[in-house]
Amino acid sequence: MSTLPYSRQEMMAIATGRELRDGELAIFGVGLSMLAGYFAQAHHAPNIRAMTEGGVYGATPVGGLPWGIECNRISANATSFTNAIDALGFLVASGRCDVGIIGAAQVDKFGNVNTTGIWDGEIGETYRLPKTRLTGAGGANDIACGAGRVVIMVTHEPKRFADKVSYISSPGYLDGGNARDQFGFVGGGPSAIVTTLGILRPDPVSKEFILDAYYAFSSVDEIRAATGWDLKVSPTVHVVPEPSLEELAALRRVDETGALRI
């Protein structure tokens, strides 16, 4: 790693940012996903319509990674502040938002996300206490249900890539196939899982996530070993282009305090 001119987190943020297209209405979660989103705006999507679930519009973070979606670092130059009903309801749950970026503590092969808790084994019929309580769904469930497509950002470790998450906080493709249809979700579901090692995308029919690409510094074998299910590999698996100098410069302008350089 030390030989690379960029960190794995930076590669993940840039690969995530590349998923966003100019002009889209896009919602960014807290932390890394916000840097990834604002990187896209700073680099290749100047007309992206960026928002946070706090209802903060027209802003560009100042002073480094905002501490939260409502942090003063993002409130210092907004053109509009509204509220949760507006941002998560009118603009996201409605289906109006093109793309959202969310994080995950645990994700499974159908792109279901757990951010609620870790249990030892299945929870069972009784809702017993979690071994480790996490942060809950936040706005990610709303984004997962409503956004046109969702990009999931997650550190690639076996414990985070489970065959089945212990708790679905935010729905991916549920049991796979057309399982989302019975709930009538207006959003299309996760289009990519971008990790510190590569990019997974869903099979168009089964909706199982398969390995689509790896980074210059990773490999198919490394990724399969770091995945908690028997990860299938796309016949077109390929290497993700390394960050360009322009991309890195844009990212680091947004990530002023170097949160991604760790």
Binding site: S75, L129, C145
Partner: protein, 330 residues
Amino acid sequence: MPGNKLITLAEAVGRYTRDGVQYASGAALPVGSDAVVFGRELLRQKRKNLHAIFHCNTQQLNLLAGAGAVDKAECGFSGLEVFGFANGLRRAVESGQTALEDYSNLAMALRLLGGAMNWPFVPATVNIGSDIQHRSAFAPDEYPATRKIPTVTDPFSGQEIGAFSPLKPDVAAIHVSLADPLGNAIMLGTEWSRFELSRAARKVILIADAIVDTDCMRQYPNLVRIPDIVVEAVVYHPFAAWPQSSPGLYDVDEAHMKFMNKSLSTVEGTANYVLDYVESYNDIDSYLDLIGRDNIERLSNSATSFLLDPYRKWIKTPAEIAALTAEVTA
């Protein structure tokens, strides 16, 4: 309820809360506007067995739960954003002390909207199909939980969607940037769901960083999203959200956010925190001393300060506020 409603924080907690109350705050986010100081006062007055309605967790819920004062909580997000897990709340949940009922952030806002509207239920197109719908910490033996987010049939299409239960908290302490003595309030920064909460709660107490003359409200009536007619009491308390931020007034206190959250990760650390940062001050001045006057100056030097500029000329001095408060108490 026109008329001057300024009372002290201690009086507000004494008059409007009791053990077991369904108490709402945190119609705010973990890093921004929340009346954290109200939670400190709840602990100073030994309130317990609270049923906490927090749209999102904040340092207030983190403290209250960590100190063992919360039996039940309902939240959309229970972390501290970039500051990580909320250790006090997490410990209370993992030990079984606090039953935490999970919803999403939109769900909590809609449940407040439904309470404000007095609807029997709110249509749910989110949270359905996930374990948020099927698992209930308040009814752990029911699986799938059928009373938490039941289904309802759309009479137009015949399709099934979900139904959220509305929220009508007994009392809400709402942090605002500016309030006048009558209870008109201006929020700078995202409202999150404070607008809906102010109509859903049975009693609303404003906790304001600054008090302004009513002339300010008449100049900016479109900014007054909480009008006096829904407000019971107004409390003046500078740095009421500390260590969280208040746009236009002060930034997040990063060091104390981390210190506080670390303290709350153990029983012992929590006890020390309560001793040092809850029971240690007597009035606003000693509270500000506790934060540190240099620290206050640093935090007040915010990139958002210009947001307060249009209203500065109407801000009342502590002496004026004290006189107004004495008027109500007399």
